[in-house]
Symmetry: C2
Subunit: 333 residues, 2 copies
């Protein structure tokens, strides 16, 4: 049976709807995939709430990433063939039992990564590589702070920064998740512990995922010549409710930074929208090629919990109430 999950109206997790889907044979440059797992990202929750500027018009199928088995390929496709286990970036449309997409978005499952971990890889790896490797250009000896170190992106960002020789501190809002961060080879602090302890400063790089008012207090913890890379606005969403005041407050509190005042700070500020970068075929190719090194870089996505696709509402609730540690997936089999 072919099915997908659609956002027809904005609201709580219960508004997500399963519907039947007509099979679509691949065009000349396309690949058809029988999906095993679909990855869930925090951005999916934001678009379900209607708070994601880049989302398509309703009704639309969310989802950036899947893993599965190739069932058919177009005549121009060379790199994969029917029967191959693959991972794919879907740029929406990933919450589906079957997808048919351009071959350049599809790549063979990296060695020693299983189908579940594979579905947890594209968004986390591309985002971490862009933020940690390309923007911040982390190098040996760097002092690094990863906010949301227990999330899908945070886990890979922590592993990547460690691989690049940095000394990493991972943040969490939940004290019981500290052990998970320590198992990644990082020092673990709760948000409260960090904010209370003013000696926690001098970071060369901070990965910020909360946005809003958090950017400026975190900037004050950067060392001279340090940089903060902002990758989200998670502080605008709480408990999966459609709270306009909360999202507006987070947006309004996201600072404008005066370059004149930045001269006193001696630091840099980046913002990353990985989706925009992945519209550029040169970057897609560069990042996809580097996926072959995932194992050599000691990157291993951590799958926190897998929900049956029909139970997508529970999966969203689990993520938005901060119960998740690592990646949340939907299973189609």
């Amino acid at each position: 049976m072919h099915r997908d999950i659609v956002i027809e109206k904005y609201g709580t997790a219960k508004t997500l709807t399963l519907r039947d889907l007509a099979p679509k044979p691949p065009a000349d440059d396309e690949v058809a995939i029988d999906v095993a797992y679909s990855g869930i990202n925090f951005a999916d929750i934001q678009m379900r709430l209607g708070f994601y500027p880049d989302a398509p018009k309703r009704p639309f199928v969310p989802g950036y990433e899947v893993s599965g088995v190739v069932t058919a390929v177009g005549k121009d496709v060379r790199d994969v063939r029917p029967g191959d286990d693959v991972v794919a970036g879907t740029y929406f449309g990933g919450y589906a039992s079957h997808v048919t997409i351009p071959a350049r978005q599809v790549f063979k499952l990296p060695p020693k990564i299983d189908l579940a971990a594979g579905a947890a890889l594209p968004v986390a790896y591309f985002t971490a590589q862009l933020a940690v490797g390309e923007m911040a250009r982390v190098r040996p000896g760097d002092k690094v702070l990863i906010e949301c170190a227990t999330g899908g992106v945070g886990v890979i960002a922590t592993q990547l920064a460690r691989h690049l020789g940095a000394e990493v501190t991972g943040l969490t809002t939940s004290a019981h998740k500290k052990g998970f961060i320590e198992d990644l080879g990082a020092k673990a602090l709760t948000l409260d512990e960090l904010r209370r302890d003013e000696s926690q400063k001098g970071f060369d790089f901070i990965l910020n995922s909360s946005g809003g008012a958090h950017i400026n207090w975190q900037r004050a913890r950067l060392g001279l010549t340090g940089r903060i890379v902002c990758i989200g606005l998670s502080s605008g969403v709480k408990d999966g409710k459609r709270n306009f005041v909360r999202i507006a407050t987070a947006a309004l509190r996201t600072p404008k930074i005066s370059v004149l005042k930045l001269f006193d700070a001696n630091q840099g500020v980046y913002a990353l929208n990985a989706l925009h970068v992945l519209r550029d075929p040169v970057w897609v190719e560069r990042l996809t090629r580097s996926l072959a090194n995932v194992e050599a870089m000691n990157l291993a996505p951590h799958v926190g919990k897998v929900f049956p696709a029909a139970d997508v509402a529970s999966a969203h609730s689990f993520l938005e109430t901060k119960q998740a540690t690592g990646k949340v997936l939907l299973a189609w089999k």
Copy 2:
């Protein structure tokens, strides 16, 4: 004869005044230097005009850097001794025939650098190393744009970026200086040529020295994940006149950057005040130690013109009317 050059009132180059100076024996941790050359920087012009926020109260002696011969050392000084050729960072006070300063600001002249080139080194090297090496972290294959590539900092920044494996484009406002930039191993463009040619984009790093309205059009020339490092506000000064409207306009046009909008740009913005960084002893030591590698990095300051110290007004005029190519020095012998 011991003399220095003082800023007693703000104004044109003619307001710079030579005065007699009492010799000052070194304290335990100090070094006395018989100065051969004093380096002139664009910031000196800004402080002569009264437009430099970090300048001391008048009357004060400007000047960040000197070269010369050690005449005496305090009893705790180990690294240099009388007779040594040295270079020193002075953090004001450098326009003087003799200086007595803490030993940690003094270092032996690097091999194959003569006293004139030595006086051209500290500000240019520290600024370039902080902007190119520490903030931007330039790496092989980067596409780099250096504004003001013909200035003291620009020459060293260009050489350093080339040494790090970047492909460098140098900018100048004067077409006749293009050959000078090409001799540094860079592609040369005038400001007009760059602005007219919209295919000149996709830079991984832009070194901005003009500030003001130039920051935003230059940002539009960055590639995805690229960064701009701002190191000055030279667009606020023209022809060495004390023009309040011009400096205010440059300051007002220096943008505030909305982090929300930065998500669409996928880039980073840094500002550097090297003087602030050099207040930190850890950074001073780190940067000073790296000076020993100047030769291995193929860095060679270009001395554009040397003026007798008594002719300091001509030296300032030469720099502020954009006649200089490379560094302008004052000679005390």
